[in-house]
């Protein structure tokens, strides 16, 4: 009975910190122990990376999909389904959920893959560093129009979303703070976009233009100075509201469903003590996400939250594909595009699998 409970708890951990696991894996992990498994998940570098060469052997267009979103989807799905570092991919999804961008505007899937790569790389690192990286990320700059944020004509889109959606939430700042933050990010842009014809998409690169930066004095969240964007981020991460906001996001994603984000300024957290514990770790560790996740996964509030989270479309699609062992790319025969419809969830038909999966991922065709 105790063994069965160990399996059930391990299954819970793997559903949340990953995309579920089959019985063989659960038994192996239960034998290894819960805390040891948490540590392994928190240190993805101890596990082999996804074999991208096999992906590129069969789907070379997925390397730089440019204007072919289905091939970009193949790349992301391949990582999600085949990773041996499930929490790394889960955190990439988490940050993509927080720092949401999309090809509908960006129209350059190479850049979206690059951004997902940043989330993989820094998703369990320091939140302050990740926020700064995203502030300098050309995909985000274009998505939120900071390339149109000039010293002589301020565009508040990035400045507002930084405070509202990415760090503190509504109610923790004033309209003046939005304006002042936006001023601090003037001149943060990327190299001039080249028309995509005749050579296709090209890599975007961050560029700081001092002549376009408003270097004047600013007053932001009670601080006064000639701030630039990095100063703004340093002030933001020190705010108690920032710790609460990030930790509530983590709780909502990994523990139990919360009210939707716009309601957080009026709806108290589902479990205030849990948020307090996560918040304390966030601040004590100087914004180290790995430390917060360690507390979260080892907590009783997490262990007792089984089946209190509605699976996201990504969890449904990826978890199912991993469970049944589809999309492995391991069998060359399945990559010859000769397989028949009953075996469509094999290598050659990943574009179709991804299309169906991505439709579900988008949520547009999925009943809640």
């Amino acid at each position: 009975m105790a063994y069965q409970e160990d399996i059930a708890l391990m299954a819970h951990l793997m559903r949340r910190a990953g995309f579920g696991a089959g019985r063989d894996e659960l038994e192996a992990r239960a034998a290894k122990g819960y805390e040891a498994t948490v540590e392994e998940l928190l240190h993805p570098e101890t596990q082999p990376a996804v074999d991208v060469y096999t992906l590129l052997r069969y789907q070379p267009a997925s390397l730089l999909p440019g204007g072919q979103p289905p091939m970009g989807n193949v790349n992301i799905m391949y990582h999600l389904v085949n990773t041996k570092r499930p929490l790394e991919e889960k955190m990439a999804l988490f940050w993509h959920h927080v720092f949401a961008t999309g090809n509908s505007k960006v129209d350059n899937y190479d850049q979206l893959l690059e951004q997902i790569g940043l989330f993989r790389q820094g998703g369990m690192g320091n939140y302050r560093d990740l926020l700064l990286t995203i502030a300098r990320n050309p995909t985000m700059i274009f998505w939120l129009d900071n390339n149109q944020n000039h010293g002589t004509a301020v565009n508040e889109n990035w400045g507002r979303e930084l405070l509202e959606l990415f760090s503190m939430g509504v109610g923790a700042y004033t309209e003046k703070d939005v304006r002042e933050a936006s001023r601090a990010f003037t001149g943060w842009t990327f190299e001039t976009k080249i028309p995509r014809l005749p050579y296709g998409r090209f890599p975007w690169k961050f560029e700081y233009r001092p002549e376009d930066h408003d270097d004047g004095e600013k007053e932001f969240l009670g601080h006064r100075g000639r701030f630039d964007g990095e100063d703004i981020i340093d002030i933001v991460v020190e705010q108690p509201a920032c710790a609460r906001f990030v930790c509530r996001h983590l709780y909502n994603f990994f523990v139990a469903d919360e009210a939707q984000v716009p309601a957080w300024s009026i709806e108290p957290p589902r479990d205030q003590k849990a948020i307090d514990a996560l918040t304390a770790t966030f601040r004590q560790s100087r914004f180290d996400i790995r430390s917060v996740l360690r507390v979260l996964f080892n907590s009783s509030f997490f262990k007792n939250a089984r089946f209190q989270h509605l699976k996201s479309p990504a969890e449904v699609v990826v978890g199912s594909l991993r469970l049944v062992g589809a999309m492995s790319y391991r069998d060359p025969d399945t990559a010859t595009c000769r397989c028949s419809p009953p075996t469509w969830v094999r290598t050659c038909s990943i574009p179709r699998a991804s299309r169906d999966g991505i439709r579900a991922l988008s949520g547009s065709t999925v009943a809640p």
Binding site: F307, V316, R322
Partner: protein
């Protein structure tokens, strides 16, 4: 419905290795009663926790099939199919939508 159909289309295919692994584990238990088939599938799909009402509905369907066993080639094919169908019923439950 899209998410249920997506998952059901996968777990109902006994040729897929993960589904095969579930069938092979159930096989080691010998001939299964309807209750054992339901509980075995719930266990190996998660374990998934379902309400007593949901379990009763699943058992009622399994009872229509009778016992599930792999004693002969013919019964094995039927048993594989039933396991696949039971997995499809489980992934269509309300409880399976939660993690």
């Amino acid at each position: 419905m899209a998410r249920i159909n997506f998952v059901a289309g996968l777990v109902g295919d006994p040729s897929l290795p993960g589904v095969r692994a579930i069938i092979d584990r159930l096989k080691t238990k010998g001939t299964l009663s309807p209750e054992q088939l339901v509980d075995g599938c719930l266990d190996l799909l998660g374990p998934v926790e379902v309400s007593s009402e949901t379990r009763q509905e699943l058992v009622a369907q399994a009872k229509e099939w009778g016992q599930t066993g792999w004693a002969s080639e013919t019964s094995s094919k039927t048993a594989d199919k039933r396991v696949g169908e039971m997995l499809q019923l489980i992934v269509a439950t309300r409880e399976y939508q939660f993690a």
